[in-house]
Amino acid sequence: MFASIVSYGLAVGAVYALIGITYNVMFSASRVFSFTAGMLGMLGGVLGALFITEWGLPTIVGLVLVLACGAVLGIVTEIVTVRPVLKSIDQHLYVLSTLAFALMIQQLTAIWWGTDARPFPRLIPIGPGWLDQQFWLPMLACAVTIVGLELLYRKTLIGRAFLAIAEDAYAARALGLPETGLRMASYALAGMIGALAGFSGAEILLAFFGNQAILNFYGFVPVALGGMGSNRGAVIGGLALGVFQQAANFLVGGIFAAVAVFAVFIVVLLLRPEGLAGAATARRV
């Protein structure tokens, strides 16, 4: 039972971590928290099942298509819901615009795909047990994403430009960096990461439109606890959250697990609003 708690917990936790990274990538580029993170995760599963099971496409083609859809949705998110409200970011209208957009996509999914959870195809037939893809696929996706992001940020010019925008958008613009283009690119990247999260975790979470709200919240918890913008915090927090949830589910039951996560979330936010690993921000007078 211990093994199944850990493997299952780490798998779900890796999905949370990836959704957390999705939040972070969008936040770094625009100082905006976007409710589309959970939507991307939900769609990764639904679109994967659609392309591979329903349409019968090869796995790799299905994955590429899912990532492409995620990227397109990311760009649409940036253009429709983020850019128009960036001018007055202190009014935080992005909370509502991104939520509205995410809900629209969720409802379209509910109407065309249905409101029942459908199974996600088995892609690589090994297992059962620990070798089962449903356990290692999310972890692999998470590891690939982190290594990929590190390489992108450290080794490539565009990655450094991302970092520059995240550090100081104003100065980056003064240096002649194309802020708008980089922001769109970041949202496309976030779209792919979010879709990958849903795709890799869909055998556990199923292809289900209701995953959106769950992923939105549980993907945000590690970001809030780890400090916004910190991918390391998101990964550690996400994995810990996944294992804790599974352990509590098995040992004390689902009610306690849900309430405990929420309680920890509130308490940490109250004691350390900037997150356990984040830095305090300056005053505003």
């Binding site: 429709v80 209208l93 629209m104 409802q107 379209l108 109407i111």
Partner: protein, 603 residues
């Protein structure tokens, strides 16, 4: 140079179209329709109306949270869920002995109030997305618990809703129950909205720093509002469970939350009639568009997106004709320093002498020593000028005194007793008030309301008294309004009392800030570059006003770049450079101080 402006075209007491509507006619009409609706004897319409009343009971409270305090509580449907299950489970006796339905309904309200505070806790320190996410997460979790706690909630199968006995038994009795409670909720939220608490909420939303300087303690106020809004949500839930007659977790979809939200946004922030009409329309609409039922959430979401992107101010802004009418072009500000005595209360000479003293104050920002061992005294009845080049620490000093920065070392005393560091909202209690380098006003509120915010701490009534419009609340309102008009007359802007603050020009905003600061009846007045952006004539009048207030016994600390103003009106001047005192003394001494002249004033 005449007094033509004082009798300008903007009349005091003028009210907008929406204001008039909101005042009475619309509410009476709505009430009559509600009262007489049972005459139709159409139970289908009755059910729709009951649902609208129930939704409005929740939205009315949520409106204070969202529309007034500006907190994005998107998951407030969780209060409906909690109230519904509490009332249903207690009545059915699945968790305890069966309760009387009316008592169970009250319990639903209590649970809702408690949940409102818990969900609201993060909002006390953080705003916006974190709070939005907390409410959303809470909604998710409440549904999960409702599904999992089968013995009490019936899980996915559900549980029967309460049936209220006579006099509000199912049918038109229950209809009137919902109607009465909806009317009560409207009345109570309207009372809060028009009280000093309502203005304080709006101040927190749009000018949080100024709200603190006016002595508004954000946590206490928000907790009260979350309690109230949660309780209304819980009661709405209990009624909802009875109306549904059988509840399952599916009944509490996120769609309902979006509906509440759109109703408030469409109606416009800071309005009550708008959101009420929005709730009624959005509740009724799907009933008349049956083929669209499947699409209703999608359409709600699309509507939300359109509102946010196209008319973030809501319909109330579109209808706000009053603020379309042009103001007079060449307005003049003619302060009346002779009124100061009345505004400040009593005879200036009778007020005691007091002193704020700073000793060896040091403040570092990282490696930068913004203030480096500063001594300073501000005495009542004196104007103390603080000058120096940019970055010399003038505004920083003012922020230390008013509690926005916590110094790393040093002492600060008021008449010998320690004046605690930080705690900006506590300064109003010491009667220390201030203005800001960039005026911080609530653009959407009228000038009069902005000024009234400055007197928030002088109210005596409690939040509960304001909800119920008890005598102390009404007396507070009368006094605050009279005092605010007096303060506006003193700075020469009473003719603009009813105008939205965001329509005024820069110099007027500066004087409004002074009026707001005067509302505190301050012993000390800290002015941060009040003359910036003013014309020469306005600066002269400002100088007279400041001088007059010091003659009334107020101790003024004046941060300024206009050397003429400083030397005209200051009793003493301190010159800062790099966080240290370069020179201190009378204006004449400073004017001839060699280092000051070479470093700052120029030859």
């Amino acid at each position: 140079m005449t007094d033509a402006t004082a009798s300008g075209p903007v009349r005091v007491g003028e009210r907008s179209l929406l204001g008039k509507l909101e005042g009475s006619v619309s509410w009476i009409l709505l009430g009559l329709v509600g009262l007489l609706l049972p005459l139709l004897d159409d139970s289908y319409i009755g059910v729709i109306a009951q649902r609208a009343y129930i939704y409005w009971i929740l939205s009315a409270g949520l409106n204070l949270v969202v529309g007034y305090a500006g907190q994005i509580a998107i998951g407030w449907v969780s209060m409906l869920t909690l109230g519904a299950y509490t009332t249903a489970a207690l009545t059915a006796g699945t968790a305890t002995d069966p309760w009387h339905p009316y008592l169970a309904l009250i319990a639903g309200g209590v649970i809702g109030a408690a949940a409102g505070v818990i969900v609201g806790l993060p909002a006390l320190r953080l705003r916006t997305f974190y709070f939005a996410m907390t409410t959303l997460g809470f909604a998710t979790i409440v549904t999960q618990v409702a599904l999992a706690w089968k013995s009490v909630t019936g899980g996915g199968v559900g549980t029967p809703g309460p049936v209220f006995p006579w006099p509000f038994d199912p049918g038109w009795g229950f209809y009137y129950f919902c109607f009465i409670l909806a009317a009560l909720a409207t009345w109570m939220t309207a009372n809060i909205a028009s009280s000093r608490f309502g203005r304080a909420l709006v101040a927190i939303r749009d000018a949080e720093v100024a709200a603190e300087a006016s002595g508004i303690a954000k946590p206490r106020l928000l907790i009260a509002v979350f309690l109230f809004a949660g309780a209304l949500g819980g009661v709405a839930g209990g009624l909802f469970a009875s109306l549904q007659s059988y509840i399952t977790p599916d009944a509490f979809t996120f769609e309902i939350s979006v509906l509440f939200f759109i109703a408030i946004l469409i109606g416009g922030r800071g309005s009550i009639l708008g959101p009420a009409l929005g709730t009624i329309i959005l509740t009724a609409l799907p009933e008349f568009a049956a083929p669209l039922v499947q699409w209703s959430t999608f359409l709600y979401a699309a509507l939300l997106l359109v509102i946010v992107l196209v008319i973030p101010g809501g319909i109330a802004d579109l209808l706000d004709y009053k603020n379309r009418r042009p103001l007079e072009q060449h307005r003049e500000i003619v302060p009346r320093p002779d009124l100061l005595g009345r505004v400040l209360g009593g005879d200036g000479r009778s007020r005691g002498k007091s002193t704020i003293a700073l000793r060896d104050i040091e403040l570092h920002f990282g490696g930068v020593r913004a203030i480096d061992g500063l001594d300073l005294e501000v005495r009542s009845g004196e104007v103390h000028g603080l000058i120096g080049p940019n970055g010399s620490g003038k505004t920083t000093t003012l922020n230390v005194i008013s509690g926005y920065y916590r110094p790393n070392a040093g002492q600060m005393t008021l008449d010998g007793a320690e004046l605690p560091f930080a705690l900006p909202h506590a300064r109003a209690g010491y009667r220390i008030s201030r203005t800001f380098q960039t005026p911080r006003l609530v653009g959407a509120a009228s000038v009069l309301e902005n000024v009234m915010i400055g007197g928030t701490v002088h109210g005596h009534g409690t939040f509960t008294e304001s909800i119920l419009a008890l005598p102390r609340h009404r007396r507070d309102e009368r006094h605050l309004k009279a005092a605010a008009l007096q303060a506006l007359a003193t700075v020469g802007l009473e003719s603009l009392a009813q105008v939205r603050a965001d329509r005024l020009q820069h110099s007027e905003l500066r004087f409004i800030e002074i009026a707001r600061a005067l509302m505190l009846k301050p012993a000390f007045l800290l002015l941060d570059e009040p003359a910036a952006g003013l014309s020469a004539e306005e600066i002269r009048r400002l100088g007279n006003l400041i001088k007059a207030s010091s003659r009334e016994g107020v101790g003024v600390l004046l941060v300024e770049h206009h050397a003429d103003l400083i030397f005209d009106i200051c009793d003493r001047v301190t010159v800062l450079n790099l966080g240290k005192t370069l020179a201190a003394g009378t204006p004449n001494e400073i004017r001839s101080h060699r280092e000051v002249v070479s470093a700052y004033l120029g030859a």
